[in-house]
Symmetry: C2
Subunit: 319 residues, 2 copies
Protein backbone atom coordinates (compact mmCIF):
# COMPACT_ATOMS: atom_id res chain seq x y z
CA UNK A 1 0.00 0.00 0.00
CA UNK A 2 2.98 2.29 0.53
CA UNK A 3 3.65 1.98 -3.22
CA UNK A 4 0.18 3.35 -3.98
CA UNK A 5 0.75 6.29 -1.65
CA UNK A 6 4.10 7.06 -3.27
CA UNK A 7 2.37 6.89 -6.67
CA UNK A 8 -0.20 9.49 -5.56
CA UNK A 9 2.59 11.74 -4.34
CA UNK A 10 4.32 11.43 -7.72
CA UNK A 11 1.18 11.99 -9.79
CA UNK A 12 -0.39 14.92 -7.97
CA UNK A 13 0.77 18.44 -7.24
CA UNK A 14 -1.72 19.96 -4.78
CA UNK A 15 -2.23 18.28 -1.41
CA UNK A 16 -4.24 18.84 1.72
CA UNK A 17 -3.03 17.28 4.97
CA UNK A 18 -5.36 17.09 7.95
CA UNK A 19 -6.01 15.25 11.20
CA UNK A 20 -8.41 15.06 14.11
CA UNK A 21 -9.67 17.79 16.44
CA UNK A 22 -8.13 17.93 19.93
CA UNK A 23 -4.69 17.82 18.38
CA UNK A 24 -1.92 15.78 19.96
CA UNK A 25 1.76 15.32 19.27
CA UNK A 26 1.26 12.39 16.92
CA UNK A 27 -1.32 14.22 14.79
CA UNK A 28 0.79 17.37 14.54
CA UNK A 29 4.17 15.69 14.18
CA UNK A 30 2.87 13.40 11.43
CA UNK A 31 1.16 16.22 9.55
CA UNK A 32 4.15 18.54 9.70
CA UNK A 33 6.74 15.90 8.84
CA UNK A 34 4.78 14.87 5.78
CA UNK A 35 4.10 18.52 4.91
CA UNK A 36 7.82 19.33 4.95
CA UNK A 37 8.68 16.28 2.89
CA UNK A 38 6.07 17.12 0.22
CA UNK A 39 7.18 20.76 0.18
CA UNK A 40 10.74 19.53 -0.27
CA UNK A 41 9.54 17.70 -3.38
CA UNK A 42 8.22 20.98 -4.75
CA UNK A 43 4.56 20.20 -4.11
CA UNK A 44 1.85 22.67 -3.11
CA UNK A 45 0.73 21.58 0.34
CA UNK A 46 -1.59 22.93 2.99
CA UNK A 47 -2.00 21.59 6.53
CA UNK A 48 -5.52 22.26 7.80
CA UNK A 49 -6.65 21.68 11.38
CA UNK A 50 -9.89 22.87 12.90
CA UNK A 51 -8.35 23.35 16.34
CA UNK A 52 -5.52 25.75 17.11
CA UNK A 53 -2.14 24.19 17.81
CA UNK A 54 -1.65 23.66 21.55
CA UNK A 55 0.99 25.99 22.93
CA UNK A 56 3.49 23.26 23.78
CA UNK A 57 3.55 22.12 20.13
CA UNK A 58 4.10 25.55 18.58
CA UNK A 59 7.84 24.81 18.52
CA UNK A 60 7.35 22.06 15.91
CA UNK A 61 9.03 23.00 12.62
CA UNK A 62 6.32 24.17 10.23
CA UNK A 63 3.69 24.75 12.94
CA UNK A 64 3.40 28.43 12.06
CA UNK A 65 2.20 27.49 8.56
CA UNK A 66 -0.82 25.45 9.66
CA UNK A 67 -4.11 26.93 8.50
CA UNK A 68 -7.40 26.76 10.40
CA UNK A 69 -9.62 27.89 7.55
CA UNK A 70 -10.31 25.47 4.72
CA UNK A 71 -10.13 27.01 1.23
CA UNK A 72 -12.15 25.52 -1.61
CA UNK A 73 -11.52 21.76 -1.36
CA UNK A 74 -11.54 21.56 -5.14
CA UNK A 75 -8.09 23.21 -5.03
CA UNK A 76 -6.64 19.91 -3.88
CA UNK A 77 -6.04 16.78 -5.90
CA UNK A 78 -5.55 14.60 -2.87
CA UNK A 79 -6.09 14.79 0.88
CA UNK A 80 -4.04 12.95 3.49
CA UNK A 81 -6.11 12.08 6.53
CA UNK A 82 -3.62 11.27 9.27
CA UNK A 83 -4.00 9.66 12.69
CA UNK A 84 -7.75 9.69 12.22
CA UNK A 85 -10.01 6.65 12.29
CA UNK A 86 -13.22 8.46 11.32
CA UNK A 87 -13.59 11.42 8.99
CA UNK A 88 -15.99 13.04 11.47
CA UNK A 89 -13.07 13.53 13.88
CA UNK A 90 -11.65 16.15 11.50
CA UNK A 91 -14.45 18.43 12.69
CA UNK A 92 -16.87 20.71 10.88
CA UNK A 93 -15.13 20.46 7.50
CA UNK A 94 -15.22 16.68 7.26
CA UNK A 95 -17.98 16.75 4.65
CA UNK A 96 -16.11 19.10 2.33
CA UNK A 97 -12.88 17.12 2.72
CA UNK A 98 -14.72 13.94 1.74
CA UNK A 99 -15.40 15.69 -1.57
CA UNK A 100 -11.73 15.79 -2.50
CA UNK A 101 -11.00 13.33 -5.31
CA UNK A 102 -8.55 11.13 -3.46
CA UNK A 103 -8.48 10.66 0.28
CA UNK A 104 -5.51 8.72 1.67
CA UNK A 105 -5.86 7.51 5.23
CA UNK A 106 -2.77 6.78 7.32
CA UNK A 107 -3.50 5.62 10.85
CA UNK A 108 -2.54 3.25 13.65
CA UNK A 109 -5.82 3.10 15.58
CA UNK A 110 -7.33 -0.31 16.20
CA UNK A 111 -10.82 1.09 15.66
CA UNK A 112 -10.13 2.23 12.10
CA UNK A 113 -12.52 0.34 9.83
CA UNK A 114 -10.45 1.10 6.75
CA UNK A 115 -13.20 2.32 4.45
CA UNK A 116 -10.88 4.40 2.27
CA UNK A 117 -9.61 3.15 -1.06
CA UNK A 118 -6.01 4.18 -0.39
CA UNK A 119 -4.91 3.58 3.15
CA UNK A 120 -1.99 2.56 5.31
CA UNK A 121 -3.45 1.15 8.50
CA UNK A 122 -1.34 -0.71 11.02
CA UNK A 123 -2.57 -1.07 14.60
CA UNK A 124 0.83 -2.64 15.41
CA UNK A 125 2.52 0.69 14.74
CA UNK A 126 3.19 2.81 17.82
CA UNK A 127 1.97 5.96 16.13
CA UNK A 128 1.05 7.52 12.83
CA UNK A 129 4.49 9.14 12.95
CA UNK A 130 6.07 5.70 12.73
CA UNK A 131 4.00 5.02 9.58
CA UNK A 132 5.01 8.34 8.01
CA UNK A 133 8.60 7.38 8.75
CA UNK A 134 8.10 4.10 6.87
CA UNK A 135 6.76 6.00 3.87
CA UNK A 136 9.61 8.51 3.89
CA UNK A 137 12.15 5.70 4.00
CA UNK A 138 10.36 3.85 1.20
CA UNK A 139 10.56 7.05 -0.85
CA UNK A 140 14.32 6.98 -0.40
CA UNK A 141 14.28 10.43 1.19
CA UNK A 142 16.84 11.41 3.81
CA UNK A 143 14.90 13.43 6.39
CA UNK A 144 15.92 16.93 7.40
CA UNK A 145 16.37 17.78 11.07
CA UNK A 146 12.92 19.43 10.90
CA UNK A 147 11.25 16.28 9.60
CA UNK A 148 13.07 14.12 12.16
CA UNK A 149 12.02 16.49 14.95
CA UNK A 150 8.36 16.22 14.01
CA UNK A 151 8.44 12.44 13.77
CA UNK A 152 10.36 11.97 17.01
CA UNK A 153 7.76 14.14 18.75
CA UNK A 154 4.99 11.98 17.28
CA UNK A 155 6.50 8.75 18.57
CA UNK A 156 7.60 10.20 21.92
CA UNK A 157 4.18 11.58 22.80
CA UNK A 158 2.04 8.71 21.53
CA UNK A 159 4.10 6.19 23.52
CA UNK A 160 3.94 8.38 26.64
CA UNK A 161 7.71 8.84 26.67
CA UNK A 162 8.13 5.16 25.81
CA UNK A 163 6.09 4.03 28.82
CA UNK A 164 3.02 2.55 27.10
CA UNK A 165 2.58 -0.92 25.68
CA UNK A 166 2.90 0.41 22.12
CA UNK A 167 6.62 0.91 22.81
CA UNK A 168 7.68 -1.79 20.36
CA UNK A 169 11.18 -2.61 19.14
CA UNK A 170 10.20 -0.89 15.87
CA UNK A 171 9.11 2.30 17.68
CA UNK A 172 12.42 2.50 19.53
CA UNK A 173 14.38 1.68 16.39
CA UNK A 174 12.58 4.44 14.49
CA UNK A 175 13.18 6.89 17.35
CA UNK A 176 16.88 6.04 17.29
CA UNK A 177 17.07 6.60 13.54
CA UNK A 178 15.34 9.97 13.91
CA UNK A 179 17.81 11.06 16.58
CA UNK A 180 20.60 9.99 14.24
CA UNK A 181 19.01 12.34 11.69
CA UNK A 182 19.21 15.26 14.10
CA UNK A 183 16.12 15.14 16.32
CA UNK A 184 17.12 16.33 19.81
CA UNK A 185 15.35 14.31 22.54
CA UNK A 186 16.23 16.84 25.23
CA UNK A 187 15.10 19.93 23.34
CA UNK A 188 11.90 18.23 22.18
CA UNK A 189 11.07 16.93 25.66
CA UNK A 190 11.66 20.34 27.20
CA UNK A 191 9.30 21.95 24.73
CA UNK A 192 6.59 19.34 25.04
CA UNK A 193 6.77 18.55 28.76
CA UNK A 194 8.54 21.43 30.49
CA UNK A 195 6.36 24.36 29.53
CA UNK A 196 3.65 24.16 32.15
CA UNK A 197 2.06 27.43 33.29
CA UNK A 198 2.52 28.13 37.00
CA UNK A 199 -1.28 28.32 37.43
CA UNK A 200 -1.64 24.80 36.08
CA UNK A 201 1.01 23.51 38.49
CA UNK A 202 -0.66 25.24 41.44
CA UNK A 203 -4.05 23.82 40.49
CA UNK A 204 -2.51 20.38 40.08
CA UNK A 205 -0.98 20.78 43.52
CA UNK A 206 -4.28 21.69 45.11
CA UNK A 207 -5.98 18.73 43.45
CA UNK A 208 -3.32 16.32 44.74
CA UNK A 209 -3.35 17.83 48.21
CA UNK A 210 -7.10 17.18 48.40
CA UNK A 211 -7.04 13.68 46.94
CA UNK A 212 -9.06 10.97 48.63
CA UNK A 213 -8.77 7.21 48.50
CA UNK A 214 -11.61 4.69 48.58
CA UNK A 215 -12.03 0.93 48.52
CA UNK A 216 -8.79 0.22 50.40
CA UNK A 217 -6.82 2.54 48.13
CA UNK A 218 -7.92 0.86 44.92
CA UNK A 219 -9.77 4.02 43.82
CA UNK A 220 -8.34 7.51 44.00
CA UNK A 221 -10.67 10.49 43.66
CA UNK A 222 -9.28 13.82 42.48
CA UNK A 223 -11.51 16.89 42.48
CA UNK A 224 -11.18 20.18 40.64
CA UNK A 225 -13.51 22.78 42.10
CA UNK A 226 -14.68 25.85 40.23
CA UNK A 227 -13.61 28.04 43.13
CA UNK A 228 -10.04 26.66 42.96
CA UNK A 229 -9.79 27.39 39.24
CA UNK A 230 -10.99 30.94 39.85
CA UNK A 231 -8.88 31.59 42.94
CA UNK A 232 -5.68 30.35 41.27
CA UNK A 233 -6.49 32.01 37.96
CA UNK A 234 -6.14 28.75 36.05
CA UNK A 235 -8.01 27.69 32.91
CA UNK A 236 -10.35 24.75 32.54
CA UNK A 237 -8.09 23.11 29.98
CA UNK A 238 -5.27 23.05 32.51
CA UNK A 239 -6.92 20.00 34.06
CA UNK A 240 -5.95 17.93 31.00
CA UNK A 241 -3.82 15.01 32.15
CA UNK A 242 -4.49 15.41 35.88
CA UNK A 243 -6.33 12.08 36.00
CA UNK A 244 -3.16 10.26 34.89
CA UNK A 245 -1.41 11.28 38.11
CA UNK A 246 -3.81 9.11 40.06
CA UNK A 247 -2.63 6.08 38.15
CA UNK A 248 0.91 6.65 39.41
CA UNK A 249 -0.16 5.87 42.95
CA UNK A 250 0.70 2.58 44.54
CA UNK A 251 -2.21 0.19 44.81
CA UNK A 252 -4.55 2.36 42.76
CA UNK A 253 -6.51 0.45 40.12
CA UNK A 254 -8.88 3.23 39.06
CA UNK A 255 -8.14 6.96 39.02
CA UNK A 256 -11.11 9.31 38.84
CA UNK A 257 -11.06 13.06 38.24
CA UNK A 258 -14.16 15.11 39.04
CA UNK A 259 -13.93 18.45 37.25
CA UNK A 260 -16.63 20.96 38.14
CA UNK A 261 -17.61 22.58 34.83
CA UNK A 262 -20.65 24.48 36.17
CA UNK A 263 -21.85 24.72 39.71
CA UNK A 264 -22.62 21.16 40.79
CA UNK A 265 -22.01 19.80 37.28
CA UNK A 266 -19.04 17.48 36.93
CA UNK A 267 -17.11 15.96 34.10
CA UNK A 268 -15.79 12.66 35.40
CA UNK A 269 -12.67 11.25 33.74
CA UNK A 270 -11.48 7.77 34.62
CA UNK A 271 -8.29 5.82 34.00
CA UNK A 272 -7.69 2.22 34.92
CA UNK A 273 -4.67 -0.03 35.09
CA UNK A 274 -4.09 -3.25 33.16
CA UNK A 275 -7.23 -5.00 31.97
CA UNK A 276 -9.75 -3.23 34.19
CA UNK A 277 -12.65 -2.16 31.99
CA UNK A 278 -14.08 1.21 32.99
CA UNK A 279 -15.77 1.96 29.69
CA UNK A 280 -18.73 -0.10 30.97
CA UNK A 281 -18.88 2.17 34.02
CA UNK A 282 -18.95 5.31 31.88
CA UNK A 283 -21.75 3.78 29.83
CA UNK A 284 -23.94 3.42 32.93
CA UNK A 285 -23.76 7.21 33.19
CA UNK A 286 -24.35 7.77 29.47
CA UNK A 287 -20.69 8.34 28.67
CA UNK A 288 -18.08 6.32 26.80
CA UNK A 289 -14.45 5.83 25.93
CA UNK A 290 -12.09 2.89 25.92
CA UNK A 291 -11.30 0.07 28.30
CA UNK A 292 -8.66 2.04 30.24
CA UNK A 293 -9.86 5.61 29.63
CA UNK A 294 -13.47 6.75 29.80
CA UNK A 295 -15.53 9.79 30.78
CA UNK A 296 -19.06 11.03 31.45
CA UNK A 297 -21.02 13.95 32.92
CA UNK A 298 -23.04 14.00 36.11
CA UNK A 299 -24.92 16.58 38.19
CA UNK A 300 -25.14 16.88 41.94
CA UNK A 301 -23.22 17.79 45.04
CA UNK A 302 -19.70 16.42 45.01
CA UNK A 303 -20.19 14.05 47.95
CA UNK A 304 -23.28 12.48 46.38
CA UNK A 305 -21.64 12.31 42.95
CA UNK A 306 -18.57 10.54 44.26
CA UNK A 307 -20.67 8.15 46.33
CA UNK A 308 -22.72 7.22 43.27
CA UNK A 309 -19.64 6.62 41.11
CA UNK A 310 -18.12 4.37 43.77
CA UNK A 311 -21.38 2.42 43.96
CA UNK A 312 -21.32 1.76 40.23
CA UNK A 313 -17.62 0.85 40.28
CA UNK A 314 -18.52 -1.75 42.90
CA UNK A 315 -21.77 -3.00 41.37
CA UNK A 316 -20.02 -3.46 38.01
CA UNK A 317 -17.40 -5.55 39.73
CA UNK A 318 -14.57 -3.18 38.83
CA UNK A 319 -13.24 -2.86 42.39
CA UNK B 1 38.93 -3.55 26.38
CA UNK B 2 35.80 -5.67 26.11
CA UNK B 3 38.05 -8.58 25.13
CA UNK B 4 39.96 -8.25 28.38
CA UNK B 5 36.73 -8.26 30.35
CA UNK B 6 35.51 -11.36 28.56
CA UNK B 7 38.87 -13.00 29.29
CA UNK B 8 38.48 -12.31 33.02
CA UNK B 9 34.99 -13.82 32.91
CA UNK B 10 36.38 -16.93 31.24
CA UNK B 11 39.36 -17.32 33.56
CA UNK B 12 37.72 -16.73 36.93
CA UNK B 13 34.97 -18.51 38.80
CA UNK B 14 34.09 -16.31 41.81
CA UNK B 15 32.88 -12.75 41.22
CA UNK B 16 31.71 -9.81 43.25
CA UNK B 17 29.51 -7.18 41.59
CA UNK B 18 28.97 -3.83 43.27
CA UNK B 19 28.02 -0.23 42.64
CA UNK B 20 27.55 3.10 44.36
CA UNK B 21 25.47 4.03 47.43
CA UNK B 22 22.16 5.82 46.81
CA UNK B 23 21.23 3.19 44.28
CA UNK B 24 19.48 4.12 41.07
CA UNK B 25 18.00 2.17 38.18
CA UNK B 26 21.20 2.13 36.17
CA UNK B 27 23.31 0.81 39.05
CA UNK B 28 20.81 -1.90 39.93
CA UNK B 29 19.83 -2.85 36.39
CA UNK B 30 23.47 -3.14 35.34
CA UNK B 31 24.46 -5.17 38.39
CA UNK B 32 21.55 -7.58 38.12
CA UNK B 33 21.80 -8.07 34.36
CA UNK B 34 25.48 -8.92 34.64
CA UNK B 35 24.81 -11.08 37.71
CA UNK B 36 22.22 -13.14 35.83
CA UNK B 37 24.50 -13.53 32.81
CA UNK B 38 27.44 -14.73 34.94
CA UNK B 39 25.17 -17.09 36.88
CA UNK B 40 23.95 -18.42 33.55
CA UNK B 41 27.56 -19.26 32.73
CA UNK B 42 27.78 -21.33 35.92
CA UNK B 43 29.85 -18.79 37.86
CA UNK B 44 29.65 -18.06 41.59
CA UNK B 45 28.48 -14.46 41.82
CA UNK B 46 27.44 -12.12 44.61
CA UNK B 47 25.91 -8.67 44.22
CA UNK B 48 26.81 -6.47 47.16
CA UNK B 49 25.34 -3.02 47.81
CA UNK B 50 25.68 -1.04 51.00
CA UNK B 51 22.25 0.56 50.63
CA UNK B 52 18.99 -1.35 50.56
CA UNK B 53 17.23 -1.60 47.21
CA UNK B 54 14.69 1.23 46.82
CA UNK B 55 11.13 -0.12 46.89
CA UNK B 56 10.36 0.73 43.27
CA UNK B 57 13.27 -1.41 42.08
CA UNK B 58 12.44 -4.53 44.08
CA UNK B 59 10.63 -5.91 41.03
CA UNK B 60 13.90 -6.22 39.11
CA UNK B 61 14.71 -9.88 38.39
CA UNK B 62 17.36 -11.00 40.85
CA UNK B 63 16.83 -8.10 43.28
CA UNK B 64 15.93 -10.47 46.12
CA UNK B 65 19.39 -12.04 45.91
CA UNK B 66 21.36 -8.83 46.53
CA UNK B 67 23.39 -8.94 49.73
CA UNK B 68 24.13 -5.95 51.97
CA UNK B 69 26.84 -7.62 54.03
CA UNK B 70 30.25 -8.17 52.46
CA UNK B 71 31.77 -11.58 53.17
CA UNK B 72 35.54 -12.03 53.19
CA UNK B 73 36.71 -10.25 50.02
CA UNK B 74 39.35 -12.94 49.55
CA UNK B 75 36.52 -15.23 48.47
CA UNK B 76 36.38 -13.38 45.15
CA UNK B 77 38.82 -13.58 42.28
CA UNK B 78 37.48 -10.46 40.61
CA UNK B 79 35.19 -7.54 41.43
CA UNK B 80 33.07 -5.64 38.94
CA UNK B 81 32.65 -2.03 39.96
CA UNK B 82 29.70 -0.73 37.94
CA UNK B 83 28.37 2.77 37.31
CA UNK B 84 30.89 4.11 39.81
CA UNK B 85 33.55 6.71 39.09
CA UNK B 86 35.24 6.55 42.50
CA UNK B 87 35.68 3.52 44.72
CA UNK B 88 34.68 5.61 47.73
CA UNK B 89 31.13 5.82 46.36
CA UNK B 90 30.71 2.10 47.11
CA UNK B 91 30.53 3.10 50.77
CA UNK B 92 32.12 1.72 53.93
CA UNK B 93 33.47 -1.44 52.25
CA UNK B 94 35.41 0.33 49.50
CA UNK B 95 38.77 -0.38 51.18
CA UNK B 96 38.13 -4.11 51.46
CA UNK B 97 36.88 -4.30 47.87
CA UNK B 98 40.07 -2.60 46.68
CA UNK B 99 41.89 -5.60 48.12
CA UNK B 100 40.31 -7.99 45.65
CA UNK B 101 42.90 -9.16 43.12
CA UNK B 102 41.21 -7.82 40.01
CA UNK B 103 38.88 -4.85 39.93
CA UNK B 104 37.09 -4.20 36.65
CA UNK B 105 35.44 -0.81 36.31
CA UNK B 106 32.56 -0.30 33.89
CA UNK B 107 31.14 3.22 33.83
CA UNK B 108 29.77 6.04 31.69
CA UNK B 109 30.46 9.03 33.96
CA UNK B 110 32.49 11.87 32.52
CA UNK B 111 34.28 12.35 35.84
CA UNK B 112 35.73 8.86 35.90
CA UNK B 113 39.54 9.20 35.91
CA UNK B 114 40.02 5.61 34.82
CA UNK B 115 42.61 4.54 37.36
CA UNK B 116 41.79 0.84 37.14
CA UNK B 117 43.83 -1.57 35.09
CA UNK B 118 40.82 -3.22 33.47
CA UNK B 119 38.06 -0.81 32.59
CA UNK B 120 35.36 -0.03 30.09
CA UNK B 121 34.71 3.70 30.30
CA UNK B 122 32.61 5.52 27.75
CA UNK B 123 31.11 8.91 28.61
CA UNK B 124 29.28 8.74 25.26
CA UNK B 125 27.22 5.82 26.51
CA UNK B 126 23.81 6.72 27.89
CA UNK B 127 24.23 4.45 30.87
CA UNK B 128 26.26 1.65 32.35
CA UNK B 129 23.42 -0.61 31.25
CA UNK B 130 24.22 0.21 27.64
CA UNK B 131 27.86 -0.83 28.25
CA UNK B 132 26.82 -4.10 29.88
CA UNK B 133 24.64 -4.72 26.84
CA UNK B 134 27.68 -4.23 24.59
CA UNK B 135 29.63 -6.78 26.62
CA UNK B 136 26.80 -9.32 26.56
CA UNK B 137 26.51 -8.98 22.79
CA UNK B 138 30.29 -9.30 22.40
CA UNK B 139 30.09 -12.51 24.44
CA UNK B 140 27.62 -13.85 21.90
CA UNK B 141 25.01 -14.40 24.61
CA UNK B 142 21.30 -14.12 23.85
CA UNK B 143 19.79 -12.38 26.87
CA UNK B 144 16.93 -13.84 28.84
CA UNK B 145 13.81 -11.75 29.50
CA UNK B 146 15.19 -11.13 33.00
CA UNK B 147 18.48 -9.76 31.68
CA UNK B 148 16.68 -7.61 29.09
CA UNK B 149 14.34 -6.27 31.78
CA UNK B 150 17.24 -5.16 33.95
CA UNK B 151 19.08 -3.48 31.10
CA UNK B 152 15.99 -1.73 29.75
CA UNK B 153 15.36 -0.35 33.25
CA UNK B 154 18.95 0.91 33.40
CA UNK B 155 18.66 2.79 30.11
CA UNK B 156 15.10 4.03 30.74
CA UNK B 157 15.89 5.54 34.12
CA UNK B 158 19.30 7.02 33.33
CA UNK B 159 17.92 8.82 30.27
CA UNK B 160 14.92 10.10 32.27
CA UNK B 161 12.46 8.17 30.08
CA UNK B 162 14.48 9.19 27.01
CA UNK B 163 14.18 12.91 27.81
CA UNK B 164 17.80 13.77 28.64
CA UNK B 165 20.58 14.66 26.24
CA UNK B 166 22.18 11.23 26.69
CA UNK B 167 19.31 9.79 24.64
CA UNK B 168 21.54 8.84 21.73
CA UNK B 169 20.70 6.77 18.66
CA UNK B 170 22.68 3.95 20.30
CA UNK B 171 20.65 4.18 23.54
CA UNK B 172 17.38 3.93 21.62
CA UNK B 173 18.70 1.13 19.44
CA UNK B 174 19.80 -0.81 22.52
CA UNK B 175 16.41 -0.22 24.15
CA UNK B 176 14.67 -1.52 21.03
CA UNK B 177 16.82 -4.65 21.00
CA UNK B 178 16.06 -5.28 24.68
CA UNK B 179 12.32 -4.98 24.05
CA UNK B 180 12.76 -7.44 21.19
CA UNK B 181 14.32 -9.77 23.78
CA UNK B 182 11.27 -9.54 26.00
CA UNK B 183 11.64 -6.44 28.17
CA UNK B 184 8.17 -4.92 28.67
CA UNK B 185 8.31 -1.10 28.61
CA UNK B 186 4.84 -0.77 30.13
CA UNK B 187 5.35 -3.19 32.99
CA UNK B 188 8.79 -1.76 33.78
CA UNK B 189 7.53 1.84 33.68
CA UNK B 190 4.59 0.98 35.92
CA UNK B 191 6.91 -0.57 38.48
CA UNK B 192 9.47 2.22 38.42
CA UNK B 193 7.22 5.25 38.03
CA UNK B 194 3.69 4.29 39.08
CA UNK B 195 4.24 3.14 42.63
CA UNK B 196 4.07 6.41 44.50
CA UNK B 197 2.66 6.34 48.04
CA UNK B 198 -0.48 8.47 48.49
CA UNK B 199 1.28 10.46 51.24
CA UNK B 200 4.04 11.44 48.85
CA UNK B 201 1.50 12.60 46.25
CA UNK B 202 -0.37 14.66 48.86
CA UNK B 203 2.83 16.26 50.08
CA UNK B 204 3.87 16.98 46.50
CA UNK B 205 0.47 18.58 45.96
CA UNK B 206 0.80 20.80 48.97
CA UNK B 207 4.28 21.89 47.89
CA UNK B 208 3.02 22.79 44.41
CA UNK B 209 -0.04 24.58 45.75
CA UNK B 210 2.24 26.78 47.85
CA UNK B 211 4.85 27.48 45.17
CA UNK B 212 6.07 31.00 44.69
CA UNK B 213 7.75 32.68 41.77
CA UNK B 214 10.46 35.33 41.86
CA UNK B 215 12.50 37.36 39.40
CA UNK B 216 9.73 37.57 36.80
CA UNK B 217 9.09 33.84 37.00
CA UNK B 218 12.69 32.86 36.33
CA UNK B 219 13.00 31.33 39.81
CA UNK B 220 10.44 29.04 41.39
CA UNK B 221 10.60 28.37 45.13
CA UNK B 222 9.07 25.20 46.53
CA UNK B 223 8.88 24.69 50.27
CA UNK B 224 8.42 21.52 52.32
CA UNK B 225 7.52 22.39 55.91
CA UNK B 226 8.03 19.99 58.81
CA UNK B 227 4.43 20.51 59.85
CA UNK B 228 3.19 19.42 56.40
CA UNK B 229 5.23 16.23 56.51
CA UNK B 230 3.85 15.46 59.96
CA UNK B 231 0.26 16.38 59.18
CA UNK B 232 0.18 14.29 56.00
CA UNK B 233 2.12 11.43 57.55
CA UNK B 234 4.74 11.52 54.79
CA UNK B 235 8.44 10.64 55.10
CA UNK B 236 11.38 12.96 54.53
CA UNK B 237 12.65 10.86 51.63
CA UNK B 238 9.35 11.40 49.83
CA UNK B 239 10.62 14.85 48.83
CA UNK B 240 13.15 13.21 46.47
CA UNK B 241 12.53 14.52 42.97
CA UNK B 242 10.16 17.35 43.96
CA UNK B 243 12.66 19.96 42.80
CA UNK B 244 12.48 18.61 39.25
CA UNK B 245 8.82 19.62 39.00
CA UNK B 246 9.85 23.26 39.20
CA UNK B 247 11.91 22.83 36.05
CA UNK B 248 8.80 21.81 34.14
CA UNK B 249 7.34 25.28 34.53
CA UNK B 250 7.30 27.70 31.66
CA UNK B 251 9.88 30.45 31.93
CA UNK B 252 11.57 28.95 34.97
CA UNK B 253 15.37 28.91 34.75
CA UNK B 254 16.13 27.84 38.32
CA UNK B 255 14.00 25.60 40.52
CA UNK B 256 14.68 25.66 44.25
CA UNK B 257 13.32 23.32 46.90
CA UNK B 258 13.55 24.32 50.57
CA UNK B 259 13.10 21.22 52.72
CA UNK B 260 12.84 21.87 56.45
CA UNK B 261 14.90 19.12 58.09
CA UNK B 262 14.79 20.54 61.62
CA UNK B 263 12.93 23.55 62.88
CA UNK B 264 14.28 26.49 60.86
CA UNK B 265 16.98 24.35 59.23
CA UNK B 266 16.64 23.89 55.48
CA UNK B 267 18.20 21.67 52.88
CA UNK B 268 18.11 23.67 49.66
CA UNK B 269 18.15 21.72 46.40
CA UNK B 270 18.50 23.55 43.10
CA UNK B 271 18.03 22.57 39.46
CA UNK B 272 18.77 24.79 36.50
CA UNK B 273 18.00 24.63 32.80
CA UNK B 274 20.48 24.60 29.93
CA UNK B 275 23.88 26.09 30.73
CA UNK B 276 22.95 27.97 33.89
CA UNK B 277 25.58 27.19 36.51
CA UNK B 278 24.14 26.89 40.00
CA UNK B 279 27.00 24.89 41.49
CA UNK B 280 28.73 28.25 42.11
CA UNK B 281 25.66 29.40 44.06
CA UNK B 282 25.72 26.30 46.25
CA UNK B 283 29.40 26.87 46.90
CA UNK B 284 28.68 30.34 48.34
CA UNK B 285 26.63 28.54 50.99
CA UNK B 286 29.25 25.83 51.57
CA UNK B 287 27.47 23.25 49.42
CA UNK B 288 28.24 21.71 46.06
CA UNK B 289 27.03 19.61 43.16
CA UNK B 290 27.08 19.98 39.41
CA UNK B 291 26.32 22.75 36.97
CA UNK B 292 22.59 21.94 36.72
CA UNK B 293 22.02 20.26 40.11
CA UNK B 294 23.39 21.49 43.42
CA UNK B 295 22.47 21.63 47.09
CA UNK B 296 23.40 23.15 50.45
CA UNK B 297 22.13 23.65 54.01
CA UNK B 298 21.07 26.89 55.64
CA UNK B 299 19.50 27.98 58.91
CA UNK B 300 16.91 30.66 59.55
CA UNK B 301 13.29 31.56 59.09
CA UNK B 302 11.96 30.58 55.69
CA UNK B 303 11.34 34.16 54.50
CA UNK B 304 14.89 35.24 55.37
CA UNK B 305 16.40 32.08 53.91
CA UNK B 306 14.60 32.48 50.60
CA UNK B 307 15.48 36.18 50.43
CA UNK B 308 19.15 35.35 50.97
CA UNK B 309 19.17 32.65 48.26
CA UNK B 310 17.55 35.02 45.78
CA UNK B 311 20.17 37.66 46.61
CA UNK B 312 23.00 35.24 45.83
CA UNK B 313 21.31 34.03 42.64
CA UNK B 314 21.24 37.66 41.54
CA UNK B 315 24.69 38.68 42.76
CA UNK B 316 26.21 35.65 41.01
CA UNK B 317 24.55 36.74 37.81
CA UNK B 318 22.46 33.57 37.55
CA UNK B 319 19.15 35.39 37.12
Amino acid sequence: MIDKIIEVVRQCQRFLITSHVRLDGDALGSELAFYLVLKGLGKDVVVFNEDPTPENYLFLPGAAEITHHLEDPLLYEAAFLLDCSELERVGRESGRIAGIGKVINIDHHLSNDGCWEIKLLDPQASSTGELIWRIIKAMGISPTVEVATNLYTAILTDTGSFHYSNTTPEALKAAGELVAHGASPQWISQNVYENEPAEKMKLFGRVLDNLSLAEDGKVVMLTVRLRDIEEIGAKHYHTEGFVDAGRKMKGVLVSTLFTETDENVYKVSMRSKDDIDIEQVARVFGGGGHRNAAAFRIEGKIEAVQKRVLEVLKSQGVV
